[in-house]
Symmetry: D3
């Protein structure tokens, strides 16, 4: 049994929908719990919103580790707090959508494009593409001109723009795979995949399955984040002495 | 049930050992069949040996697809014929050790080193590192000065050299993860992991679990190699007209 | 008159010393105020410590903007919260030591080496090197094998190791400039510069003078962070509606 | 006297035309023999077709070496089997069109564009651009939407599309040199060069003259592929013991 | 008091205008002298024109050092002779517009575009972008189709084209900052900044203020070009013995 | 008949030796004339010496074009004035040692090392490596600690150090090919090649043969530097009007 925690790092009313959605795509032996934040922003379009939620996110992750979860997924395509979470985790696997979807996309085809809402999102996402090493595999970003909160206003218009942006990415930028960096429309990737004839990555599902994969590697082989150097956890004495414990 | 074919793309007497080894690490619902070539070279240290075995490998892969396998693993760290196999496959998942282990290693730590037998192997392996996009994640290659056939002569000496090379990679080159590009010593990665305290990737097992992961993605989401452009299969009429059928 | 706030983003007893030190190197028309955190970690060697202090740091920066400061310096070589601070700032200039010292170093010579305490620090610092675009200008990292808190234990031993590491960087790695990513020994860069005969960057002073430079550009030309897209501030209504105001 | 073998690595009826064409552009002291395959595919648009022909190609190359040829040219812009051929060759020079034309193009101008038939060809060609190190010199790929076999159907239409693609490459992508990765229209590069006013590389002729150049370097200076490590030939004993001899 | 020499490395009638313009933007304690060449070309659109003026430029720089100037600015966006000038300087700071404006632009936003006159200028400017390490920060070059001498013919048309090119850079290429690589229209950057809402760098002013910054670093910290290796000055004996003295 | 001018861009007493040396390695139909400068520096170890000789070099090149030479070689491994010479040339081929030897070396093996005299030379040579696009093919620079004028003092010591540096490059840095960036010891490359067993490039000979190759391409195909944009020559009227003619 693999127990995963999917954290929406925002205030959200979608916990139930996400639970149902992820449950359709998890492995039989996986149990997925979805959680979100009790207070804070409702989206992370701004860098500073991301920074605000990370301490709380780390707290949730620390709790998940204590409660015996096997893995945690940080459910935002900016992958906020991923590095930090891996550092405080001692055996919990942590992953996030951008990392997961780029590993998958670059295996399915040479170059991928990322469909985003607003151009505002691109600089940080590009930083992540470079950080993870997939710069040569990036065909382009294509923005549809909508903020997170706009995406649900007229779902048909959102879809129409996504289709258009993806077609442009394929024809003009040479994308072999599409990463949907901007939608919460459950299941739309399947429809889009049908229209385009190329793989379309739903980043939440990518993260779910990548987490299952990483837990499997940890269990079978002990392959886990480097805890001797890069992701070395802070010492417990320091945390106590400095009273950081309520933060973790 | 996931049915995988692990192909040793050489003449080998290790089919039984590989079957037992892989069986220990596969998922419960996976069935792994191991096969090797009836004739040809016994290792692929030379580029040209690799080229010689690829047509036969493609034939085996075509056969595996017809027999209903879900995935095939090309069991050599040069990943010979990977691109070609994906092109002829129509629904069979294909992967290989270098690809699989670099995706895993770059998730577990920022930089990895690859332990190889002879410096002769490095140019092609470096090409693959660059091709897969992991150049910024490569700390170094470290060669232990042994050809494939030497590796089994004095297993203790081999291990001693690998330990030394890996320690050099960690201390001198800043490796956070070690990829064992040169051993068939079953299970040695566990021992080495204990000695070094950092993740050590057994590339055959990495490929096995990556294949399971990719089959899962295909089954759940239809995420499969781009067959519309990059991995478009050759047309059947052409294959027939030019009598290439015995080759595939 | 330029008013700058230098923030030690940790609990620190050095506020007085930093004030005196920075005052020696500021421009006549600059006023520098130094502040630190009332609670939290005493160093940021861990990614997660960095994440914990960023919200508080943003709060301080927001406050500095309201109080009429012209610029703020985030006094840690990891540059924590730099991007986020620029986003919430509306006219306040924000900079940090890694950014400042790499711009300077790459102007003074083709390649620089960064002297660090522990190898643990390197992955994040390398990410910053890449993020700021100075990868081709990086000769090497050289670690002296000391954590932040060890640096003050035996100052002579610390200096000895830094000299050794810097000489290795110059002779072996081809560094033309040395960046001191690991010392709080006030003024030691001058001594080291005398020994080595190459420029040695004190990262705190680099940040101070870079902040003065950026404030000058803002005042003279209106050259300020792109606030239309990349560093667009979050809307006030959202901050109020979601009660994020105590966080900023 | 320099004796070169130009191998069309497909079944072809153009051997005579190629012989006449190459003869116009060779050096006086060069003799060029053209050959093709007795069976197999008629083009190499598919990765897997390329893999099928390589063993036979290596056989031809091995034969050419024995017969005293000085150099061999692998006449396909994918450069199939180039690395392998260099490994088995012991004194025979081997080159191929992509390598040759990119060295020439990057000498004549800062950035080149490659005109291709179908977008399907781009991923492998881009891999070669990166492998040979010319990524910073690549302005773009421009596809004319035609497969190899379509190119001869309506030669005027083909030319029209090539002109258009090349003009787009120059005006829009900043190409200073055009590489014709897609035509067998003998001599058309001259016409195109007249229209565009920039160098247009015929890749077959580039390979011919690059082969002459490399043979000259071998003869004059002993500059030949590194046979001590990277292109070390497989040992004869192994080839005999494993009965690989009919393959080489 | 900081004494700077701004050298227009061409024959120019704008010395007076430049003096007035720079004086508006210098620091109070800076004195700026503008000079130009007595004979030679009137612009440096051609590589060879640049080469012709460098010896004379070095002579002027040598003179400036002797006369007690603190810094010199080479007033051309190709940054001609920058490296050479730093080599002969012994304590004089030297900088140039491309270097200065790229350091500033990459601090203000992730990616910048450079507006140029003719596409002819792009190859050398791109070389500089790569040389200085800002390749990942380059969004694009946009050419307005005008040579240096055309720029003043119809100033309104010039402005119209620059606005258009800059808007294209922002919307199409994702530029966060605009560098004006092509105008001598004093003060126009302010107007453009108002229209576009993103920072617009006037490269002459960037160089002026970067020179002030570098002089400040030299005075305060002794941070100066590496004179031990990269910018080591030629020995005086050699210069005398070979009668090069009239050149320096 | 191909007529080449080899220009030693310094004051030299070796014109006779160079003539004899080059004559041994030229093609039968080539005529090589060697020339040097009547006054100026005797080596180009300093950037500024390079700048001083370029105008005179351009003058010689202009003269060579008028006299009917087919090609000119700029005989210094810094490749001074290469770009400028190509711009003023209208049909004369121009090349230089660094360009020529890197094209050759990267064809003969994946990675090359460059043996230099002093570390002072490395920054500019690295710039050229990057500019020509061979950064991924560079294994290392190895300096032997000798200036140009020291190289001839004790030829045996020079050789000993070169052998040692080359062995280090091969064993430690993975070089497959050695480029001799620092010797004028005629013919020594052959001896070194015998010792090391890998290709060793004499950069003067590389330039000679590359010039012959480029002249051949020009004559056969009209493949010449892009004269429409990148290497567009300055207009004659401008040269006359500004009295630049004595310079060209």
């Amino acid at each position: 049994m693999t127990k995963l925690l999917y954290i929406e790092p925002v205030v959200s009313e979608m916990v139930g929908e996400w639970t149902r959605y992820l449950s359709q795509y998890k492995c039989p032996e996986t149990e997925v719990v979805v959680t979100s934040l009790p207070e804070g922003p409702r989206h992370l379009e701004y860098y500073s919103y991301g920074a605000l939620v990370v301490p709380r996110l780390l707290n949730i992750i620390k709790g998940a580790e204590k409660e015996g979860f096997d893995g945690a997924i940080i459910g935002c395509f900016y992958d906020p707090g991923l590095r930090e979470a891996r550092e405080i985790a001692e055996k919990l696997v942590v992953t996030a959508p951008a990392e997961a979807s780029m590993h998958i996309a670059s295996t399915l085809g040479q170059r991928f494009s990322i469909i985003v809402g607003r151009t505002k999102w691109i600089p940080l996402m590009r930083e992540n593409v470079i950080k993870y090493g997939f710069q040569d595999h990036l065909a382009s970003f294509q923005a549809i001109g909508m903020g997170v909160l706009d995406l649900q206003v007229d779902p048909e218009e959102t879809k129409r723009r996504i289709v258009q942006a993806a077609q442009k990415a394929i024809e003009q930028d040479g994308a072999e795979v599409i990463i949907l960096g901007c939608t919460h429309q459950f299941g739309f990737y399947q429809e889009l995949q049908g229209i385009l004839g190329v793989p379309v990555i739903d980043v939440g599902l990518a993260a779910l399955n990548y987490a299952e994969f990483l837990v499997n590697l940890r269990n079978k082989h002990g392959w886990y984040f480097n805890k001797k150097n890069e992701y070395l956890s802070p010492p417990h004495e320091e945390i106590e002495a400095w009273k950081l414990s309520d933060l973790f």
